[in-house]
Symmetry: C2
Subunit: 333 residues, 2 copies
């Protein structure tokens, strides 16, 4: 009897080992742009355990909520947030209709090509630029403006469309999570309407799964037809302490997995980590000055300082772009 028991045990272990190996092998196919290493391993092992029916860490599909920051996590954010590049282009395009901008900051500096000068006014200047370029039109009109811009405008350094500057490994990760029953959401400080125009096509994330910063909207009638006007008033800032609020308002459950890249994502990661049961917290660390950009603790864009420290203390996964990613952008060979 003892021998039979032993044999059964060995057989069981072999079956389990095979199952795990198969899962990892299958995952490997789904994540071809990831190098084998600790980061990839942590993701694959997490997905394997939360999807293992009957296992101690099983998470029912309905609760498999994965949230991703956008700027610096799903696509690049240098030398300036892409949405800000959009806003600057819009200031130029709209200038003929605003002769007063010639003598009015921050527009006057912008129109002379002096971005630094324009931003001397700090947050107030940024807000004025955003309001002038993102409001005073209907949601449908804004969507068209964004679609036209994003389908034609090239990044100053790479000469590529902005939507080509997405991180291939993260696109694969989103698809891999969805294939494992996760629902993928964007939770970004960026404007919700700006992102929704292209996230479905580019990431496979539909508009209803995009959470972002919002302005106030107002229902109006235009020639007897209802339209939604974008008012020059901020409704919600989905950054820092706002991210858990945005998640609760929009999704209504705590994520099982969260990925960010900067201190603006810290509260989202902490909120995710504070849930019971298995949780995955990940950070993208920009370490590749050659293929992308290298920045962290002292960067004015995408500063990664406190969140990095907490990742070390808490054992969160930190993705080293240079080491962990075989390919960064989809257009690389």
């Amino acid at each position: 009897m003892k021998t039979i028991y032993k044999q059964n045990l060995i057989a069981a272990v072999l079956v389990c080992a095979l199952a795990i190996a198969t899962t990892i092998a299958r995952a490997a196919d789904s994540l071809p742009s990831w190098n084998d290493g600790a980061a990839k391993k942590s993701v694959v092992e997490f997905v394997a355990k939360v999807t293992k029916e009957g296992g101690p860490d099983f998470v029912p599909p309905a609760q498999r909520i994965a949230v991703f920051d956008n700027d610096g996590t799903l696509w690049a954010e240098q030398p300036m947030y892409f949405q800000f590049a959009f806003a600057l282009d819009r200031v130029k395009a709209l200038a003929p209709q605003h002769p007063e901008w010639k003598d009015k900051e921050p527009f006057a500096s912008l129109l002379k090509g002096d971005v630094k000068g324009a931003l001397a006014g700090g947050e107030r200047s940024i807000l004025e630029i955003v309001m002038a370029t993102h409001t005073g039109m209907t949601t449908a009109e804004f969507e068209k403006v964004v679609k036209d811009w994003i389908s034609a405008t090239k990044h100053p350094k790479t000469g590529r469309l902005y939507t080509e500057m997405i991180y291939q490994p993260m696109v694969e990760l989103c698809a891999y999570l969805r294939a494992n029953g996760f629902k993928t959401f964007i939770v970004s400080g960026g404007g919700i309407e700006f992102m929704r125009s292209w996230t479905e096509k580019v990431y496979g994330i539909p508009p209803e799964q995009v959470v972002g910063s919002t302005g106030k909207l107002k229902l109006e009638l235009r020639d007897g037809r209802p339209v939604l006007m974008k008012l020059p008033e901020i409704n919600f800032i989905d950054d820092n302490v706002g991210k858990p609020v945005g998640i609760q308002m929009h999704i209504g459950r705590r994520p099982t997995l969260a990925f960010g890249n900067s201190d603006g994502d810290l509260q989202m990661l902490q909120w995710t980590a504070a849930g019971s049961g298995p949780r995955f917290m990940g950070l993208v660390h920009h370490t590749d000055a050659e293929r992308e950009w290298a920045y962290d603790r002292t960067s004015s864009i995408g500063k990664l300082d406190k969140a990095w420290d907490e990742a070390q203390t808490k054992g969160w996964t930190v993705v080293d772009m240079k080491k962990d990613w075989k390919r960064i952008f989809p257009y690389e060979q």
Copy 2:
């Protein structure tokens, strides 16, 4: 050749007729609580045409967004909104912690059982009751309070749990739409956190697909752990002109199908109707005083006046509960 052409045509017509008959027969199985009539026919024909690949009215699955009002559309709303019954019960439960309520309206009247007197102050009184019972705690604490209440409290007239007083035909309709590739959302004036505690279990609609009125939330640390506090401040009212705004903020696309029951749903229906391509607009008309309640133009709850007129003018579907529904509540034989 002419004869062959004719034969082919006849064959094609027969195949089409069979396909349509099959679709309708299959749908009939999915909607057993609906009587055969114009309302059921309009829904089934709409779903058949928007799901017919290659047809002129085909709607891709990603765009098949269906929105439903909740109170009076998915569950009953008499003799008072169920969430208001919850609030009144909470006033009683919390009274020992608030000795000052004995002399303070609207609480004083409420605690004496005088609801009418309590509501003499109009909207201001309602707001005070909602704030006192829905805020000042974390989202997790509130969820528990709602779950405890809704799993135990009986409706004063039927003696049934509130979650048993859902409309069986509408539950079938939601499931039927999902089986045909629709994503079903609630878009209600009710509180988002109140509904999310039970909508998934009862309607199969997950928290992230519930849009409702919201209060402000604030991230705080409690014993070093992040919590979301419900602040006594209104964030958004998802009713009337608010519904298209809520839809845009939360879903980000125009619905293909919308169902309501009162004037509070008119703008949502108009917003849906204003889209290009096929759209379905439906109203539930409360006509059955015996099995449910009968009310419309002059009711203080669920007033159906302007929306009814517009439904007649525009040819929207009006469901006559008495005639169109074989069964109203799931517990009926």
